[in-house]
Amino acid sequence: MSELTAPKPEPDTAQSSLWKDAFRTMRRRPDVIIASLIMLFVFTMAAFPTLFTDKSPTRCIGSDARERPDTWFTGEHPLGTDQFGCDFAATLVHGTRPTITLALSVMIVAVLIGMVTGILAGYYGGVIDAIISRAVDVFIVVPLMLGAILLLSLFRGRGAPDNLFETVAPPAIALAIFGWMEFTRYTRAATIETKNLDYVTAARCLGAKDRRIMFKHILPNAIIPVTAVIPTTLGSIIVAESALAVLGIGVQPPATSWGVLLSNGTQWAAGGYIYLFGIPLLLLILTVFSFATFGDALRDALDPKLR
């Protein structure tokens, strides 16, 4: 980012041209376009499930359980029924919202914690840096899954969640607590790099306040590496959620998420009901794959060194 070292720079224009460049590069890649379309599809499903199905996912008739989707996409049950006799298509579509909400909220919380701690640590250094770095170390040595398992099992609430928030909150909190360190590291590194640049030093000499420097000059730089990993992180949160569900401590049934569907589906797949496992698996892989592809392209676009 050598263009940023100009003595009297216009960081905003430099920044915006970087973003514009990135956007332009990405727009030309077919894989990115496909990935974006899949992401759009998934987000629409999460936001407007009724566009995709008119069945209720909570109306389940035991005697209709596990009807195979012989008619495929048409008829009474377009994707058959699940093990409880609920319409599988409805379950799948309505399970998208908790999954996506969880992934987004974990990501937002983790990024916020990570950026604040990272900028503080990188900018002030000294004791604050030591404390924050130690905290990062402490959380890193407890692997994400183990930490989440520990929290979720120890403080498992009783009672069924009533709304989306209660459904998603416990796994989201657990994953966020053990997921912010990466962002702290990136932000801290970017902050240290930026704060010694001439224009920041100049701004400080001119009497700019700490807060102004952090927001105006450092944040725009620090946000680049963070943005680059966000899509990939979203994908890995979705995967982590499904892992927690398989362990029985993620989103709690009867609320559904992709993880819950997968965890139920695996056992029935062995009994010959492969669609109960295969369809959610396909959806999950497609989604995670598009996040990863998008993230990969974004990283390349934002960090020319790696291209």
């Binding site: 130690r134 692997p143 899954m145 398992i149």
Partner: protein, 336 residues
């Protein structure tokens, strides 16, 4: 260098200390909130007489009054615990009264075996693919390698394992046994679950599957560092000297691009530990991951703390080694 090592060691120790305390505090909180795990000793299906319960509580060091006060950090039991650990006594489990040290002696080798296979898979595949992609930079192969590794990384490893166990393992095993017989390597290798009589053979497949975690990341690292090396002066010199291509690739490029591989593997290690929980659970491997998960579920306070501490120690040590290796491998890096 010496001072750097000492500083890193001290930092590691401090981190471990904090981790230990946090774990202790979490477990104390959970006992305070969720109630007494000593009841488990009685099998959980009936309420033991208070006198007996008290005795068991005492036996497992849960009798301190602080366990009745939510929020109390229970410092006295913490210090006692540390002293016991320091004297080499890791305590026993609530259910079954087994020595935790003995349990670790069973579990750790299994997890290590899993890691050996997964690390080997990861490094070999990533090196091959990364090298291949770097040599065909920007071409079809490069894109394919990248896409494939991302795809592989997108499939949650435990789902691959589940699919393998539920769908593939039985037919494969029966097929292999029809040809080679039951008690052969081939007859065992596809087994749907871990078999303590064949601790190496039955861990190969899960190891390979776990080895795909982080494949995309590592492949990208290998590719990037090889590209850097390919364009470097010493490779150009070697080419100018007329050295064969193969030799240049192996001696100059691959060797020098080992550095990011080493660091990459180190960082992926912590992820692999997470993966171990599910893998060991699915394949019925008695290893650390499964142990910790079950211990948490059953409120085996002592086992959880010891188990997570062991993983924390391992992560700290691995990180340390990686950083030191990095310094040793790359003379350009200096430490203040």
């Amino acid at each position: 260098m010496g001072r750097y090592v000492i500083r890193r060691l001290l930092q590691g120790l401090l981190t471990l200390g904090i981790v230990l305390f946090l774990l202790h505090y979490l477990m104390a909180l959970s006992v305070q909130i969720r109630g007494n795990p000593a009841i488990l000793f009685f099998g959980g299906d009936r309420t033991p007489p208070p006198a007996m319960l008290a005795q068991v509580e005492k036996l497992y060091g849960l009798d301190n009054a602080c366990y009745d006060r939510p929020g109390d950090p229970c410092l006295v039991p913490f210090v006692e615990r540390l002293q016991r650990y320091a004297s080499g006594d890791l305590g026993t489990t609530l259910n079954g009264n087994r020595d935790v040290g003995d349990l670790l002696a069973i579990y750790i080798p299994n997890t290590l075996r899993l890691f050996i296979f997964s690390t080997l898979t990861l490094v070999i595949v990533a090196m091959l693919l990364g090298t291949w992609a770097a040599r065909h930079r920007g071409g079809f192969i490069d894109h394919t390698v990248r896409g494939t590794t991302i795809l592989i990384d997108s499939v949650p490893v435990f789902l691959v394992l589940l699919a393998y166990v539920y769908l593939a393992a039985v037919p494969l095993t029966n097929w292999a046994r029809d040809i080679w017989g039951a008690d052969t390597f081939m007859g065992e290798v596809f087994s749907p679950s871990y078999d303590p009589d064949h601790p190496w053979t039955t861990i190969i497949i899960p190891g390979i599957i776990v080895g795909t975690v982080g494949l995309a990341t590592l492949t990208r690292l290998v590719r990037a560092s090889q590209l850097e090396n390919l364009g470097s002066d010493f490779v150009r010199t070697a080419k100018a000297k007329g050295l064969p291509n193969m030799r240049i690739t192996v001696v100059h490029v691959v060797r020098n691009s080992m550095i990011p591989v080493v660091t990459g593997v180190g960082y992926i290690f912590a992820f692999a530990l997470s993966g171990a929980v599910l893998t060991e659970g699915i394949m019925n491997i008695p290893g650390m991951g499964r142990m910790i998960f079950q211990a948490v579920q059953r409120q085996e306070v002592n086992l959880v703390i010891v188990g997570l501490t062991v993983t924390a120690v391992v992560v700290v040590i691995v990180t340390l080694i990686v950083d030191l290796l990095y310094a040793a491998l790359d003379p350009r890096i200096r430490y203040e």
